[in-house]
């Protein structure tokens, strides 16, 4: 398996400016470490040869980068207009009760982290949530329960 440095070096070749490579590099770092630690951001900066603060700017701008540890499954519920109109907030409440955590928290067993995010770009199938890299669309409470159940089984 290629290490992070090699992967970032390779991907950075596609860009005219190393700063343009920050986002894909951060994704690679997040993939490796689970979330963006201080050391991970410094490593990305060092590999790309740019100031650490430039990496930190990008990492803090986007919600897709986790600055805190997240559970095995990171549930990101869209609460932007279309999803909100179709009941996203009810879903969030349901998830809070079901998982016993608040938004921004992780379950004790380390399985689930619940977040609300802005538009996921799938308004046609609202309400939508994203768990890790997978989209779940046209959600209802029942569908959500089913998804959580499947993930729990998958994990055990």
């Amino acid at each position: 398996m290629k290490d992070l440095r090699e992967k970032i070096r390779e991907i950075s070749k596609r860009y005219p400016d190393m700063r343009s490579a920050i986002m894909p590099a951060l994704y690679l770092a997040q993939e490796k470490y689970g979330y963006l630690t201080r050391e991970a951001m410094e490593e990305v900066a060092e590999i790309l040869g740019i100031p650490p603060v430039a990496v930190y700017e990008v990492a803090t701008f986007y919600t897709m980068y986790n600055k805190e540890p997240v559970g095995k499954y990171h549930i990101q519920v869209c609460t932007n207009v279309s999803c909100m109109l179709l009941g996203a907030e009810t879903l969030v409440d349901h998830l809070r009760k079901r998982l016993g955590i608040d938004v921004g928290e992780t379950t004790k067993d380390g399985l689930f982290t619940l977040s609300t995010v802005e538009c996921l770009g799938s308004c046609g199938t609202a309400p939508v949530m994203q768990i890790n890299d997978t989209y779940y669309e046209d959600l209802t409470k029942e569908k959500v329960d089913e998804i959580i159940k499947t993930l729990k089984e998958e994990a055990s």
């Binding site: 603060v53 430039a54 930190y56 803090t60």
Partner: protein
């Protein structure tokens, strides 16, 4: 050209002019926040919105260029309303804690709200709060993010001008915070330019915190005493105490920037090490005496030496004013009849007799006396022998700025890597002593391409370069670039002045300039002197002339017992002369060693007589910067205890010998103006905020100098020395604030070198030479040439000059890992 109408007034301006600048040239003031003249355009604060007829939406005048025929309104109801709304938005989250804010009274937000409204606050919501307590970002910088208006001037100046890139915009939207990586302690230059540009009290000076209200400050404009860049600065005093230093917008070479030494390093003037009263050595102990007693003593000792030229000599600091230097050399030349005068004890290290003639020839051939910013507006810039980042930080800012706005091609020939390397088209590292071969190789290439022009100008030039030249990427790239340029500027740094082959280097550069000019190009040079008035010292004639001895020869003569009187003014050769053994031995053999200084230096400790002089803070006069710009130094303190102004002391000594010398700076300057031709057009009274430039004296063209290429051998390890960003001499050593930024000297070593020694960053190593050794912490610096080490000079505790030897450079040493 475009003709536009702004508020009913018509003006014709260059295409591409911003509406804001067009308005300002009409005297119409448009308020701004995020706009800063030398920074990239952000157009985020929307305060400078104007109405353009035919366009529905208001446009930011700081980012909108004029178009021919535009009709613009800056005071229309729509503009006034929008402006007020923008300020209301800024106030929505601003804590309005003005009573405890250092910025209160000189805050741009206060001023703008006062001028443009709103007159009432409508927000009843909670304010965004990042933190309840201000957090410290460095020993000199403290942050309050709640007050920030997100103009990002700090972020931009840090990246675009300073090149430190230590600040960023963190988060987004209303939660954006301009701060450091992880909000942690800044790894930066601590220059405080972020504080200077902050319009509100978000980035603040920690030493100035809660010390004064700005309207209580008495402000005095003066010139930085550190390096030769010659930044103007304004000191702020309350109850006679120096509390802060700031720069002034669009003024001087520095234009609202300063480096860490200028902004935070002036506290040396109140260091407890000040010499309080005159002292005479009695029974081998320096005993404080009255001025009367010391005067009688000096009179008795000096009278027999009047007119005894050869056995007396003087060394003075190039951080003295022109008037002091002029008077000092006059004392020696006219009263003692001696030409044994020098103004630096740190170079030359070799071929002393030829050094000044070669340097003066280079000056008369090539120097460009004029604005640095104009000097940098060239096609090609060659920086030779300097780590600009450490040696002349503000000159580096100017270079970085120029690179961002003009198609300037930068080439760097330097022993040490620097932050500018990244921006250069060509970088060449070398071991000092090998620069001549590199420069001569470039010269040869250029001469080859212009044989006809040279013949026409110089006749048959013969073999100008004797010896083997090199052909490498740097030489090829630089030569071809020089051939393709119309205007070429060269910055010559102190590394070249220290080189054992300095004389040859000067001659090659002088030849290069002459050849490029013969080829029809504009070419000039400026020096990167690291002392505030080195240029002035040379102009004033503070060097050996007509067979006089330079400081190195004076030391040798002293060692042999041939010097009866040595007068050292404001220099500490015991600490910084590059041969510790020689300087100690020599000074102990001088008949009468007189040291005049503000501080109790190592040299003063060896003196027979010590006189308490003044710092720059206590005197009036002028400095001449590396640009040849004459600027006013203004006193803001009185000499403490029984110290006196140096000019008064020099003239007092003359009076003991029955000669009257002027003590009024403006009268002395008038004499300088009469006698020293570059100063002919400079009027002391006319030195305004920006000073005045000395004029160029046309040198006599003596044709090309033949140069034989020699090499300096270095086997194993050798170290070089120079300034550090936080330290450049015994003044910075006495700054408490600068001391808090760097606690110990260090050894810079290349990556490969560190690996070969098995040392890592922070490890301790022992550096040995001739039975002397010192211990240092390692700093790994990528890009130092193989075998070369760097140790900053002027760390008093270290006495690195014990490892140095006259005529040698770099200094060969053994290095071993400690323990």
């Amino acid at each position: 050209m475009a003709t536009v109408t702004i508020d009913g007034k018509t003006i014709t301006v260059e295409d591409g002019t911003l509406i804001l600048d067009a308005a300002r040239s009409l005297g119409i003031e448009i308020p701004t926040f995020c706009y800063q003249a030398k920074l990239s355009r952000l157009a985020s604060c929307r305060l400078c919105l104007v109405e353009i007829e035919g366009q529905k939406k208001l446009q930011p005048s700081c980012a909108t260029p004029v178009l021919d025929g535009m009709v613009i309104h800056t005071q229309s109801p729509a503009v006034v309303t929008a402006r007020r709304a923008m300020l209301e938005f800024l106030l929505a989250n601003h804590p309005l804690d003005c009573p405890v804010c250092d910025k209160g009274g000189e805050c741009e937000l206060q001023d703008k709200v006062f001028a443009f409204g709103p007159r009432e606050g409508r927000f009843t919501e909670w304010k965004r709060t990042f933190h309840s307590k201000d957090y410290v970002l460095s020993p000199v910088i403290i942050k309050n993010a709640n007050r920030c208006v997100q103009c990002q001037r700090c972020v931009r100046i840090c990246e675009e001008i300073v090149g430190a890139s230590a600040l960023g915009s963190i988060g987004r939207g209303v939660k954006t915070e301009e701060t450091s990586f992880m909000r942690a302690w800044l790894n930066c230059d601590h220059c405080g330019n972020c504080i200077e540009v902050c319009p509100v009290g978000s980035l603040m000076s920690l030493p100035y915190r809660y010390k004064a209200r700005p309207w209580d400050l008495k402000e005095v404009d003066t010139v930085c005493p550190y390096c030769g860049t010659g930044c103007t600065l304004t000191v702020g005093l309350r109850d006679g105490q120096l509390l802060r230093v700031r720069s002034r917008r669009q003024t001087g070479v520095n234009e609202e920037t300063l480096c860490v030494k200028g902004r935070f390093g002036l506290d040396f003037v109140v260091h407890e090490d000040r010499i309080k009263r005159p002292m005479i050595r009695k029974n081998d102990v320096l005993v404080p005496v009255s001025w009367r007693e010391v005067s009688n003593y000096l009179k008795e000792r000096l009278l027999p030496l009047k007119g005894k030229g050869d056995s007396v000599g003087g060394l003075l600091s190039a951080q003295m004013t022109n008037e002091e230097i002029y008077t000092f050399q006059k004392l020696f030349r006219e009263v003692f009849g001696s030409n044994n005068i020098d103004s630096s004890s740190r170079w030359p290290v070799a071929s002393e007799g030829d050094f000044y003639p070669a340097l003066l020839d280079l000056i008369s051939t090539g120097i460009y006396r004029g604005n640095l910013r104009e000097f940098l507006s060239a096609d090609t810039l060659l920086v030779a022998g300097s780590n600009l980042t450490d040696e002349n930080p503000v000159t580096e800012y100017a270079v970085r700025y120029t690179l961002s706005v003009l198609p300037l091609h930068l080439f760097i020939l330097s022993s040490r890597p620097s932050r500018l390397d990244k921006a250069a088209k060509g970088v060449k590292r070398y071991i000092p002593g090998r620069e001549v071969r590199i420069l001569a190789s470039v010269l040869k290439e250029v001469m080859k391409a212009h044989e006809e022009d040279l013949k026409r100008t110089f006749g048959d030039v013969g073999e100008v370069i004797q010896g083997e030249v090199i052909e490498d990427d740097f030489v090829r790239a630089l030569s071809s670039r020089l051939l393709g340029s119309r205007r070429i500027s060269i910055l010559v740094g102190t590394d070249l002045l220290r080189s054992p082959l300095a004389v040859d280097a000067f001659r090659v550069i002088s030849n290069l300039i002459k050849v490029l000019r013969a080829a029809g190009k504009e070419c000039g040079l400026q020096f990167l002197f690291d002392r505030s008035n080195q240029m002035g010292a040379i102009d004033m004639g503070a060097f050996p002339r007509d067979g006089g001895m330079g400081f190195g020869s004076l030391l040798e003569a002293s060692r042999d017992g041939r010097i009866s009187f040595l007068y050292v003014l404001g220099e500490d050769p015991v600490l910084n002369y590059p041969d510790g053994r020689l300087v100690r031995e020599a000074l102990s053999q001088v008949g009468l060693l007189l040291v005049q200084d503000a501080f109790m230096t190592e040299t003063a400790r060896m003196a027979h007589v010590v006189l308490p002089g003044a710092t720059f803070a206590e005197k009036d006069g002028t400095f001449t910067s590396n640009e040849g710009r004459v600027q006013r130094v203004r006193a803001f303190y009185n000499p403490p205890f029984e110290a006196r102004r140096d000019l008064e002391i020099i003239s007092h000594i003359a009076s003991l010998l029955g000669v009257d010398l002027e003590t009024d700076p403006s009268s002395i300057f008038a004499e300088i103006k009469d006698l020293i031709s570059p100063y002919r057009g400079v009027d002391y009274e006319g030195l305004g905020d920006n000073g005045l430039f000395t004029g160029h004296e046309k040198g006599v063209d003596k044709g090309l100098h033949p140069v034989a290429i020699r090499d300096v051998a270095l086997e194993g390890w050798g170290f070089i020395t120079g300034n550090h960003l936080y330290h450049s001499g015994y003044l910075s050593q006495r700054s408490r604030l600068l001391g808090s930024l760097i606690d110990a000297p260090f050894l810079e070593i290349g990556k490969e070198g560190a690996d070969s020694l098995g040392v890592r960053e922070g490890d301790s190593v022992k550096v040995r030479r001739n039975g002397q050794s010192i211990e240092l912490k390692v700093r790994v610096k990528e890009g130092l040439p193989e075998g070369l080490l760097f140790i900053p000079e002027n760390f008093g505790s270290l006495s690195i000059n014990n490892l140095m030897e006259k005529g040698v450079y770099p200094f060969p040493v053994e290095v071993r890992k400690n323990g």
